[in-house]
Symmetry: C2
Subunit: 167 residues, 2 copies
DNA sequence: TATTGTTATACTCTATAACTATA
DNA sequence: TATAGTTATAGAGTATAACAATA
């Protein structure tokens, strides 16, 4: 039985869903539910400010950013797939689109000719830079009601969760 | 320019993706990315321990829980759609499946005969109870490396994010 | 034999638009 | 006219399996 401190001054006894006004009940303490609910405003912001204007999906943005950031090392499709927890055929499709748009290039590895060496183009860098600026601005609004310390703590705790390996 | 304290003792200068070992770079401070990464272990746990064994999708679980929790009031399809940020046709499909399995019932509203009064069945209650127990156990493992205080703070900060309205 | 990446295929989920029945 | 819910249809995204090239 998880013991819980009796006083919990900041929250009401029954929390309501942000939209619809339904009682959340036991959902209140479920991480998966809380993550899904928190993802609603971030997804909305992404779609409206980046996805629409720059024609970029969240995965595409993340791939571009990872390829850019790891220019020094060899980024392969398999590595990207592992980092994003998607399958390699999925990565292939995204890379097809990014390459068609001239945002990344694929070249065969010199040592192991099976692998792809992914590189971001100048155009790709400009696009991902624009997207990043828009997302940081959106984050400022979404995290408006959190103090600087709370923002740092939230990101660090999310990182801790992401590092968990499940058996 | 967001000023940041120079010392940040707990994290390395360049954070790596939990899988694949790629440098995250600017992604490190992006809420959407951090939420997506944190969702990887929770989704995996859900699929393996609840989705598979109980044949239940995350949305289905959440709908069941909301209907159960709000038995006193009239839960309609539109309310559920708002709470979960999905369209009403989407809710209709999920309710079709839940009703076919005998987990919820739909009855016409007495006052406004356009609305559906959603109710959870005995079978539905048993299923959602089992799912909830499995998810709470999974959460304990996922949040293993967080203190009790950190867990509470994480959930509260996620709730704050979920309450944000984006313009 | 194992691994990288692709192609082929099918499935799940979601969205938009058009419809019905009630209000 | 407006709203609750459904049906019809199409699209986006993802997964599995089979394959080609290389190790």
């Amino acid at each position: 039985m998880a013991s819980r401190k009796t006083s919990r001054s900041t929250a009401p006894a029954t929390d309501l869903t942000p939209q619809g006004g339904l009682a959340e009940g036991a959902l209140r303490d479920l991480l998966g539910y809380r993550l899904a609910q928190a993802t609603i405003p971030t997804t909305k912001a992404f779609v409206e400010r980046v996805g629409g204007p720059l024609d970029l999906r969240p995965v595409e943005f993340t791939i571009l950013q990872l390829v850019r950031e790891n220019a020094a090392v060899t980024v392969t499709a398999t590595t990207v797939a592992k980092a994003l927890a998607v399958t390699t055929p999925g990565v292939t499709i995204w890379l097809d689109r990014l390459e068609e748009r001239g945002l990344v290039t694929r070249t065969r590895g010199a040592v192991d000719r099976r692998t792809q060496h992914l590189r971001i183009t100048r155009k790709g860098q400009e696009l991902v830079s624009s997207a990043l600026a828009l997302l940081l601005e959106a984050d400022r609004e979404i995290l408006k009601h959190l103090s600087e310390g709370e923002r740092r703590i939230l990101l660090e705790l999310l990182q801790k969760v992401a590092r968990t390996r499940i058996g």
